[in-house]
């Protein structure tokens, strides 16, 4: 049976729609519009045109032999989503949803963002399509991703720092949902990951699955065979679902999702949702989540704002439950070391999010041996993380100032 035909609302026992009744009409409207759009050649043509001439797709793959020397000699190939316009995979999904927004006649878009990659992509699409745009971002994240806040504002979006709860991505989603409940008549919520209520998990995956479809062909063309393993970082899980999906039915291709272990999956300061969480309901879907005994969401921690989320998309929970994909934690430090290693060996500065997949691939290479080929989704570039990296590695001279 194919694993590639799941269309929601449920993925096994995960998924669904656990939202206030006030949002159901909007979710139904979106589901119906998406159903029409996905079967409409005009929609596909418009999206393809933008992905080609605006985003720069297909993104290339890059083999990284100097980096791979540190991975037991396994072949490592990067899917370069960092080279997309706006600097990450997020734009693939945003353009699809922006076209949908136009088709359902709404004039205002809202979005949540953690690292700011999805917020920047949404602000970009809003500028391109002439839509009013409001981005909700946890106050903690606006501080550690200040450059992306400036980018969003330059693009004409309003950025609202969210001060509730843990002041990170989870709270930004709550605030965006509140906005949507209130303004649903003229507002569309451009959700950034494969979590949330149906249709978001299936729809966002569909807009991201181009990553794996391209990469599968590119790796075949380069090596003559499929990779032995595919690796991606997992926060909500959109870049991972994007690269996994084309390989779901290739039983010889192992799939690895690398979660943000924070200071260690055994510590309270972690975001390794599948590794240490248990099933529950958050942000509209049943999935794994970090929670206490009473079902209160536990605050996550990761050095990477984009992975600092106590939930995960329901399709990942399902793939974990049927053992089609494996999920492993990667600590803050392992990710930062991998970030520096790729920078120094290959001249590519990855996003801290993507560095989790790189760190995971280093271990994976040593496990699988020198004959293995590992495809890694390099989901975003690291420009936005320079301040964090500079502080982590002490790269800026004391008293230095940029003028």
């Amino acid at each position: 049976m194919s694993l590639r035909t799941e269309a929601g609302p449920y993925f096994g026992e995960f998924g669904g729609r656990f939202v206030p009744e006030s949002l159901i009409a909007a979710l139904d409207e979106l589901s119906a519009a998406y159903e029409v759009a996905r079967n409409d050649p005009a929609f596909a043509a418009e999206l393809t045109e933008l992905l080609t001439n605006y985003v720069g797709r297909p993104s290339v793959i890059t083999e990284v032999p100097r980096f791979a020397e540190h991975a037991g000699g396994a072949r490592i190939i990067l899917k370069r989503e960092d080279l997309n316009h706006t600097g990450s995979h997020k734009v693939n999904n945003v353009l699809g949803q922006a076209i949908l927004t136009k088709r359902i006649g709404k004039t205002r878009v809202i979005a949540e963002t953690g690292a700011g990659q999805h917020g920047v992509a949404t602000a970009t699409a809003a500028a391109l399509f002439g839509l009013e745009c409001v981005i909700y971002m946890g106050e903690v994240d606006t501080e550690r991703q200040a450059l992306n806040v400036a980018r969003m504002r330059l693009l004409g979006a309003e950025v609202i720092p969210v001060t509730a709860g843990s002041r990170t991505l989870k709270d930004a989603i709550n605030e965006a949902l509140r906005d949507w409940v209130t303004n649903v008549e003229h507002t569309n919520y451009i959700f950034g990951t494969v979590a949330g209520p149906h249709p978001f998990p299936a729809m966002v995956r569909d807009f991201q699955k181009i990553i794996g479809e391209e990469a599968r062909e590119q790796v075949l063309a380069l090596t003559g065979r499929l990779p032995d393993a595919v690796a991606a970082c997992v926060g909500g899980g959109s870049n991972a679902m994007g690269i996994f999906h084309a390989f779901l039915d290739d039983q010889d291709v192992a799939l690895y999702g690398f979660e943000a272990g924070g200071e260690g999956a055994g510590t309270p300061r972690t975001a390794a949702t599948i590794t240490v969480g248990r099933p529950g309901v958050l942000h509209g879907a049943r999935s794994y989540l970090l929670q206490d005994e009473d079902g209160q969401t536990v605050e996550s921690h990761s050095i990477s704002a984009g992975l600092d989320y106590p939930g995960v998309g329901p399709e990942h929970s399902w793939l974990a439950s049927i053992h089609r994909a494996q999920y492993r934690p990667v600590t803050d430090d392992a990710a930062m070391q991998a970030l520096r290693l790729l920078s120094r060996t290959e001249g590519i500065i990855p996003a801290i999010e993507s560095a989790h997949a790189l760190a995971g691939a280093l271990d994976l290479g040593r496990e699988l041996g020198p004959d293995a080929t590992i495809l890694v989704n390099l989901s975003g570039r690291g420009d936005k993380d320079m301040e964090t990296a500079a502080r982590y590695f002490d790269l800026i001279d004391e008293g230095a100032r940029q003028s």
Partner: protein, 267 residues
């Protein structure tokens, strides 16, 4: 929807008396567990007919700033789920008004839906209001509430289709919670005209007990809502009074809001 529940009977009695029911919300554990129990009792002693006790939750997507601030404080002060049952039991020993728990769904799932239903019934609770649980996802709760005989209040929104309204009406027992406006909790100057239309549509779909909530904060608004609905739900205004002036202020506000029932009768 059957009308055998204590909640439905209470609403029916108020409607028959010529007005309608006043439903008062406050969160358990704010300003303290004891304080919330005392405040709930004071609400009933001052004219609130049905209590809606909110369980503080980490991610309350339907709640506006006043209730968020109160529930966040309760959580910071160490609120535990079992405090909800403690509060229900303590209140039920002092007043006879039906007590509904308002809770987001995950705490119930983690506690165990059947276990939650059993403990709520044992404590003397009347049922649950579930803001993020739609009937489509509620099969375990429908079974558990049926088995234990608890009320289940689902939401209906102005944007809901007639088919969805019918589904909410059929799944609900006690009353249907008509969301007055498209938005989250919090006082508003004008309760949306959409509420009047929604209540009418719910009646067409078979509802015999509909309470309107969200945005109601004054006696005049209570009176206005009771012209067309069976009950009016007040939340943020009570929580604000409780936070600003303690149990006494909450009781005074309840007495003031209850005059809206008299206004409705004379209207």
């Amino acid at each position: 929807m059957t009308a055998t529940s204590a909640t439905a009977s209470t609403i029916r009695a108020r409607v028959d008396a010529g007005s309608g029911a006043l439903v008062g919300y406050l969160p358990v554990g704010f300003p303290s567990l004891g304080g919330s129990i005392d405040a709930a009792v004071a609400l009933v002693e001052n004219g609130v007919d049905i209590l809606e006790l909110g369980l503080p939750y980490s991610d309350p997507v339907m709640d506006g700033p006043v209730i968020q601030a109160a529930t966040q404080r309760a959580l910071a002060d160490g609120f535990r789920l079992r405090d909800g049952f403690t509060a229900v039991q303590a209140i039920a020993q002092q007043v006879s008004a039906p007590i509904l728990i308002m809770t987001y769904w995950n705490p119930v799932v983690q506690f165990g839906v059947d276990r939650f239903a059993d403990e709520l019934a044992a404590a003397g609770g009347a049922g649950l209001i579930t803001p993020d649980l739609i009937p489509d996802e509620a099969s375990t709760w429908l079974d558990a509430s049926e088995r234990v005989g608890l009320d289940r209040v689902f939401l209906a929104a102005p944007s809901s289709t007639d088919a969805r309204l019918r589904r909410s009406v059929e799944a609900s027992r006690g009353f249907v919670y008509a969301v007055s406006t498209m938005g989250i909790t919090g006082a508003r100057a004008d309760v949306d005209q959409a509420a009047r239309g929604l209540v009418g549509r719910l009646r067409e779909q078979g509802a015999d007990s509909t309470c309107v909530g969200i945005g109601i904060s004054t006696a005049a608004q209570v009176a206005e809502v009771l012209e067309y609905a069976d009950g009016a739900i007040v939340g943020s205004a009570i929580v604000k009074a409780l936070g600003d002036g303690g149990v006494e202020a909450a009781g005074e506000l309840a007495a003031e809001l209850a005059t809206g029932k008299q206004l409705a009768r004379s209207a």
